[in-house]
């Protein structure tokens, strides 16, 4: 006991203060969109729309794909479009929140420093001042220390286990890295996927990442933990449910020229905010699309028929639609969707359920001597750990913060996990989260003043074996290429992996293909 601790306790006792007493922690579920979505599935009856509007293009979905299409339109000087977002704020998986301490992310919270192939991402970051004259702004590159892993009762920097390795663990990590280096040289594992993916490695998509690891004689528990962590982190899936091609892509696609990643207090919500500053006037929130049907009459400018897009209260007459919402919604919304894939359309589109929570901390908990890092992961936890929203602050003294806790419900059947996600109440999940954190931060309950939880049944597409080279996926993605096509799909799930760069790529290319058709007329 140190002198000052002794003095504090003694004086507290003297004035009869009790430092104990677990206070109740308030909070709730937030951003619940499942109920809205389920109205579609159940074909609930809606009252007819009361207004009619016209615009040349309707973008369905206000996530990064839709916002990027809008960004492209306005950048090209095209403004005759609306973006329809079903929630009360656009952003999708780049959503964010804010309290009196800091803004914080609700889902995606970083972007690896984009490689040379990700030209649209680089262009966006030049627009936003993140990339200036070829130099990444040091305010947005993740500050030191970036990541820490808690294992065997201690901390290490970085997430790849480096402490307590046996010789075979070390050998296998090294051999794995050599295999990854070979794949990196092939140039097939790119971001965006479309620019590098080739049939040469299509066989890797036929087996699971776990099987591939076993075939390659990787049996080290630490190697397997790390590979599973990577799949859970990027795909919300275990290695056994992930395509080997996708598993390899995670490690091979990123070879940053700069120590990153790029991140912001509100995560990718920062990009949402900047994009909304540019395209906000075209965005309509609380507009849940119910139906997308070919127009009754031909549109004025062309001999081809356009679409009628119906929302809760408005009917939009339009020439073109960009469907940027998750593709699994298409059969519920688009009349006569994909007849050639009946009776089982979207067979290769599986989605992972996730849970995120934002914990408000009135004081920083005991971290067993470690300095706070940006991303904290616990070895052998089913969760993905947490990210500190104030990490990117330039302040030297931080005594309150918000932690964003990530949990992909990866183990088990996604549909069953979705049911569990919706059935269990808030305090069940709150306790589960605190229990996980208590393994390392014993006083966490005294530090947390609020826990808000967001449940996402279909948080992200899952690259199951076969998904990356799926014929149907290729077919849907290529629809916009037909000269007659007036419907372009743009969600990141067209790539089979759900990352910012893919969403932006599909959004921008959809916008480009439509702009071409408009200018041709």
């Amino acid at each position: 006991m140190r002198r000052r601790d002794f003095l504090t306790t003694t004086s507290a006792a003297l004035i009869g203060l009790s430092l104990k007493s677990d206070r109740p922690i308030p909070g709730s579920f937030v951003n619940e969109s499942a109920q809205l979505g389920h109205q579609l599935r159940n074909h609930a009856s809606f009252s007819p729309p009361t207004k009619t509007e016209k615009s040349q293009v309707v973008i369905v979905g206000g996530g990064i794909a839709g916002l990027s299409a809008a960004w492209r339109f306005r950048k090209r000087g095209f403004t005759d479009f609306v973006l329809l977002e079903m929630n009360d704020a656009a952003g999708g998986n780049a959503g964010w929140g804010e309290n009196e301490i800091t803004p914080y992310p609700w889902a995606a919270h970083y972007i690896p420093v984009p490689g040379p192939k990700a030209t649209y991402v680089r262009e966006l970051f030049e627009d936003l001042g993140v990339l200036q004259n070829g130099v990444w702004s040091d305010r947005y590159l993740c500050f030191s220390p970036q990541e820490r892993l808690f294992l065997y009762g201690r901390w290490q920097e970085g997430i790849e286990p480096a402490v307590g390795l046996k010789p075979q663990d070390r050998e296998q990590f090294q051999r794995l890295e050599e295999i990854f280096t070979t794949h990196r040289k092939s140039g097939e594992f790119t971001i965006p996927l479309e620019l590098g993916r080739s049939q040469k490695s299509a066989d890797l998509d036929k087996i699971s990442f776990a099987d591939w690891l076993r075939d390659q004689k990787f049996d080290s528990p630490l190697v397997n933990w790390y590979m599973n962590y990577a799949c859970r982190d990027d795909y919300g899936a275990l290695a056994k449910d992930t395509s080997a091609w996708a598993g390899i892509h995670y490690f091979v696609s990123r070879e940053p020229e700069e120590k990153g990643p790029l991140t912001w207090p509100e995560g990718n919500g920062w990009i949402t905010r900047r994009l909304l500053e540019r395209v906000g006037e075209n965005v309509r929130t609380n507009q849940m699309v119910r139906r997308i049907a070919p127009s009754a009459k031909k549109s004025s400018a062309s001999s081809k028929r356009g679409f009628t897009v119906t929302t809760t209260d408005t009917q939009f007459e339009t020439d073109f639609v960009i469907f940027a919402a998750p593709t699994f919604l298409a059969p519920y919304l688009i009349e006569n969707f994909q007849p050639q894939f009946q009776p089982q359309p979207l067979h290769d589109f599986t989605y992972s359920p996730w849970l995120t929570a934002n914990l408000t901390l009135d004081r920083l908990p005991d971290s067993r001597g470690a300095e706070p890092a940006w991303d904290t992961v616990f070895l052998d936890s089913p969760t993905l750990g947490y990210v500190d929203a104030t990490h990117q602050s330039i302040r030297s003294h931080i005594d309150k913060t918000v932690w964003t806790f990530y949990w992909a419900l990866a183990d088990g059947d996604p549909a069953q996990n979705r049911r569990t996600l919706l059935e269990k109440d808030w305090s069940y999940w709150k306790e589960a989260i605190l229990h996980d954190l208590e393994r390392v931060h014993s006083d966490i309950r005294q530090c947390v003043s609020r826990i808000d939880i967001m449940r996402m049944g279909h948080a992200m597409v899952r690259p199951t074996p076969g998904a990356i080279f799926s014929a149907e996926r290729a077919h849907i993605a290529a629809q916009q290429n037909s000269p007659d096509a007036r419907l372009a799909f743009a969600n990141s799930d067209l790539s089979g992996i759900s990352i910012f760069e893919e969403a932006q790529y599909h959004g921008v290319t959809a916008a480009e293909s439509i702009l071409k058709k408009i200018s041709r007329r």
Partner: protein, 498 residues
Amino acid sequence: MGILLFISVLLIAACGLIYELVAGTLASYLLGDSVLQFSTVIGTYLFAMGIGSALSRYLNRGLVYRFIWIELLLGVIGGFSSALLMLAFAFTQGFSIILYALVIVMGVLVGLEIPLLMRIVRERYNFRDVIAHVLTFDYLGALAASLIFPIVLVPRLGLVRSAMLFGLINVAVALWTTYIFANQLASTRIIRGMCVLVLLGLTVGIAQAKKITATAEDNIYADEIIFARDTRYQHLVLTRFKDDIRLFLNSHLQFSSRDEYRYHEALIHPGLASIRTPRRVLVLGGGDGLAVREILKYPQIESITLVDLDPEMTKIFSSHTMLTQLNQNSLLSPKLRVINADAFPWIDSNTDSFDFIVIDFPDPTNYSLGKLYTTAFYRAVARHLSAQGVIVVQSTSPMFARDSFWCIANTLKQAGLKTYPYHVYVPSFGEWGFVLASQHDYAPPTSLPSGLRFIDVKGIPALFQFPPDMAPLAIPANQLNDQVLVRLYDQDWKDISH
């Protein structure tokens, strides 16, 4: 039995004097100005003893019983007086009130002791012998206490345990008295029980105090802690040994009053005196006001802005006598504006320009402090430089932390500044380094303010020479996203401590 009785007089006299010395010492440690503190504490104590003696005439019956109670009370109050006063200083605003209240209570009790004892033993001896023996042993006890206190007690036991030890003696006397005068007491059970209880309490106190003093903190601070406070931002400790005051922030030595003039003259004058017409100065960190003291030696300076995170720090250094003597009341200068803010956000949002910018932060021991040594921070600072502006950065030791020192210099360079590293010898720190940085070329000053004790015009050029064991190293710059400096610093100091 007679001699034992008089030894107890000696003991209680020693106890009385020890409590007085403890109170006087603590007051002068904590409040400064030892002559004043000792004089007032002793005066008050003696006066209170007079009150006690006067009150003794109102005690008529059950003298032995009352004497034992007084010993017990003194054991408790005197024994815990030192701990209580330290707590009072750390946690209340009313230290002086509590101090003098304690001094008066203890004085009154001590004043009661001797008259009561004389009346108790009056029947056994003739009056002349009582007076002679009691007073002799009283003064002998005082002599013993006054010698043992500075030579053995304070250095060996510290103030807290010394007081408790003498509390034990008081209670022992009480307990012992219950045996000698058992025949004059109706019942001894209760009073002996009380004695044992208080003895136990004090023993536990001593054991605890020993446990506390055995902690790392006391190993770090070799000298007496005269002030310790956990502010919202840091753990602030002042120690003193004779006339040497030392400030520790989070256990890191910030200055020693014996040689801080070397550090602060070296920090300020090579840069500031080189500027033709310095008017506006910015100090980042440096809440002790010692850098400001040096800056105030330039009468042409119109304004000084001091940005320090911790309001407690600037408050203590503008109010504590011992410390305002040290910084010559610099924090009360009308030219000074104190801003208690986090430096990086402040620099980022402020738009003022300055002729001289002093960056005097604690060493980069962690990633939070490390942010204040990055290219991003220096670029933000450089935007505040006027055309003739110069920056000076305290840059840790080029001797003990050579990689760290050159990392800081290279970081300033990477931020687009011309750099001029230099070093001086500060006995309590060892070799210490600074970096001047500017948009233009630097020329050493040709004149300096008068009254400097360390820096002189002739000596300045030599400060910029680095011998081979401190020579420049090619170390990458410290970046927000790759804080090499924190890791280098950690390694540098680990290397020399092993």
